[in-house]
């Protein structure tokens, strides 16, 4: 699953640099946090933040700081809020994307892009939830 997450992030990174201004890497990071509530997310956020800055002609390190800080905030609130729900993923993706687009790539569609990002976030979160639960369902049906 970690390999799948990394491969998906590479794909999102390629698409974000070449085709779209929607923050795909950020959306995936937020959608993966409910499944990987550990230090692996910090490493992914740091690595892909650096790569994004290299190829988007930004000051290297800025996106990493943003991603790592946001992931840390999400993990900080996991004991107080239920982060494995569609509501939390939607709000976190919307607010985070809004801030990210405002800081890094504001082109006039900020609300629409943030809403689109939130919808993508929920889609990816639910797809990943099904993939993760699929082996468990198979095991239950056999027992």
């Amino acid at each position: 699953m970690r390999i799948l997450a990394t491969v998906l992030l590479f794909l999102a990174f390629s698409l974000e640099i070449t085709l779209t201004s929607i923050p795909l890497v950020f959306i995936l990071l937020v959608a993966f946090v409910p499944f990987y509530r550990n230090n692996f997310m910090f490493f992914l956020a740091f690595l892909f933040g650096l790569l994004l800055d290299f190829f988007a002609f930004r000051d290297v390190g800025i996106s990493s700081i943003f991603f790592v800080s946001f992931i840390f905030l999400m993990l900080l609130y996991q004991s107080k809020l239920e982060i494995s729900t569609n509501y939390f993923v939607f709000i976190a993706t919307f607010l985070g994307s809004f801030l990210y687009i405002f800081i890094f790539s504001f082109q006039g569609y900020i609300i629409l892009e943030a809403l689109t990002s939130a919808v993508f976030g929920i889609l990816i979160f639910n797809i990943f939830k099904r993939i993760k639960n699929a082996p468990d369902k198979f095991h239950l049906s056999n027992s």
Binding site: E16, F46, V60, S64
Partner: protein, 266 residues
């Protein structure tokens, strides 16, 4: 509690590393890492963008024919202008004035054109696969068959970022071909641009071609005069305003091109 403290420690470590990379980048210490990375990823981006362009440009044959016909008519007009330029050059030689620096065209493939909805939204910038290793410098013009595309704004070793003429942050002086009205072309975003700050006493004509006035600096970077910006599609003129303005449409569909040329000054 132990888990929380390890998360805090990791958070602080990665923030520190990010800041380290940030300051190293400012001091150009990351070149040994950034160049191999760009070398590895540049073909990947090129493949992704080419693949997507191939799918979206599948049904563009009729549009291409329309553009070719229009281009032929415009070329005829430009031939007349070129003759005038040659006469002008002969006069300059006669009076031994300083000739402009020689320029070469560096072909570049577009490897990135991020937009809100790929293939539908107008891109605001291009990423091209030439950089400082090819002698590209910030401020150089990017063209396609005498049509102005934009200006190089940021340069890496292998890649460069191009600010399109339709970008909100783009503005430059221009003149109309038939009526010689002088104004400033300002990008409006979303693939649109206007010719603004045109005196009320000047004549603007719908269908007239807008050309760059020329703002080449001492380093040779900038827009050469005579590059095609677009054609006037509508005019807004009110006697109560200080200036009149016109909406310009580029002759090039920025979402359909995949190769451009950088005007590299030597």
């Amino acid at each position: 509690m132990k888990k929380r403290s390890s998360q805090v420690s990791l958070f602080l470590i990665f923030i520190f590393l990010s800041l380290l990379f940030y300051f190293a980048f400012q001091d150009n210490l990351l070149k040994p890492i950034s160049r191999p990375l760009q070398n590895v990823f540049s073909p990947v981006f090129s493949a992704v963008y080419s693949g997507f362009s191939g799918i979206t440009n599948f049904d563009s044959a009729s549009k291409v024919k329309e553009l070719k016909d229009e281009n032929a008519a415009l070329t005829e007009k430009l031939v007349d202008q070129t003759k005038l330029q040659q006469d002008n050059q002969a006069l300059r030689d006669q009076f031994e004035t300083v000739t402009p620096k020689s320029t070469i065209l560096v072909p570049a493939q577009i490897v990135g054109a991020p937009g809100f909805i790929p293939g539908i939204s107008f891109p605001e910038t291009f990423t091209i696969n030439v950089g400082s290793k090819d002698g590209i410098k910030a401020g150089e013009a990017v063209i396609l068959k005498n049509n102005l595309i934009g200006r190089v704004t940021k340069v890496n070793y292998y890649l460069s970022s191009v600010l399109l003429v339709t970008n909100e942050n783009s503005s430059f002086t221009a003149t109309t071909m038939e009526t010689n009205a002088l104004g400033i072309v300002k990008g409006q975003g979303g693939g649109e641009m206007i010719l603004d700050n045109v005196l009320l006493s000047d004549n603007l004509k719908a269908g007239d071609i807008v050309l760059t006035k020329g703002d080449v600096g001492a380093s040779g970077a900038g827009f050469m005069p005579g590059l095609i910006v677009g054609k006037i599609v509508s005019i807004s003129k009110n006697a109560s305003d200080l200036f009149q303005k016109a909406k310009i449409e580029s002759l090039v569909d920025f979402s359909k091109i995949d190769t451009v040329f950088v005007v590299n000054s030597q």
